[in-house]
Symmetry: C2
Amino acid sequence: MAEAVAILGSTPRTLDALLRALPGEWMAANEGNETWSPFDVLGHLIHGERTDWVPRARIILEHGEARVFEPFDRFAQFVDSEGRTVASLLDEFAVLRQQSLRDLAALQITAADLDRRGRHPAFGAVTLRQLLSTWVAHDFDHLVQISRVLARQYSDEVGPWRAYLRVVREAHE
Amino acid sequence: MAEAVAILGSTPRTLDALLRALPGEWMAANEGNETWSPFDVLGHLIHGERTDWVPRARIILEHGEARVFEPFDRFAQFVDSEGRTVASLLDEFAVLRQQSLRDLAALQITAADLDRRGRHPAFGAVTLRQLLSTWVAHDFDHLVQISRVLARQYSDEVGPWRAYLRVVREAHE
């Protein structure tokens, strides 16, 4: 738990360092079709703080498997982030994450609690341990996504070095 | 150029936020076989500051294609980082990157200079623009790699959520 909380607490700083100074067109870049830009991912992470992680942990602790989680809206950010600046999204994410970790601490989760179960609308039974592990892995998963989009912004400019840059190369294969 | 410099300047902060608080075993985790851990990548980035980016930019500006770049040692970090702490590598990288950007500024590179050519030991002719673009893309490429290794640390703990976490899922396919 302490490990997970330390990692979750550092994500806003990581994203801030990575994204705050980026040119606007990089924030809006995606990988084609319906893929997400760094701007979209940031909105998605904010929506997760509001509706996913701690709210679901509470449902597990209060209702167990008797109450199915609210389905998570994977497209909420396309409405919620409209007209927002990157700076304001970064600020909001930092505040919400800090609040999430305060709320998590207040739940005083014990080692035994980690095995308690809730009900996911698609997967059925899941444990609190799986939910909290997913929260951490989800941060890294989206950090991969954002960094991948950014790495590919100079796909053409790098010329022959593309051969040595795995992420850039894969976009061309 | 200004864009590239801003991004290059933020990478030490990003890596610091991402890595400084991580448990030691996460820093040492890799993707099997000869793949690199976050600790290895950090040493590789340090070696790049010392021998790759600015030194090669200097060769292009001073010697053009007449002098082939020194081949880059992709394994230097396995010797250089031995016995080092993560904190000391992060500190060193931050200092070296700052120095690199000061050195780069001192070169007073013009728009016309970006088309000047040097000679890469494997690729042959490359431009200064390609070298500098690669420096930026290389930061992001390794940020993808580090985040991917970290995302996979909870591959088993996430349970059924694996299906929704692309990077974790791909490690199981």
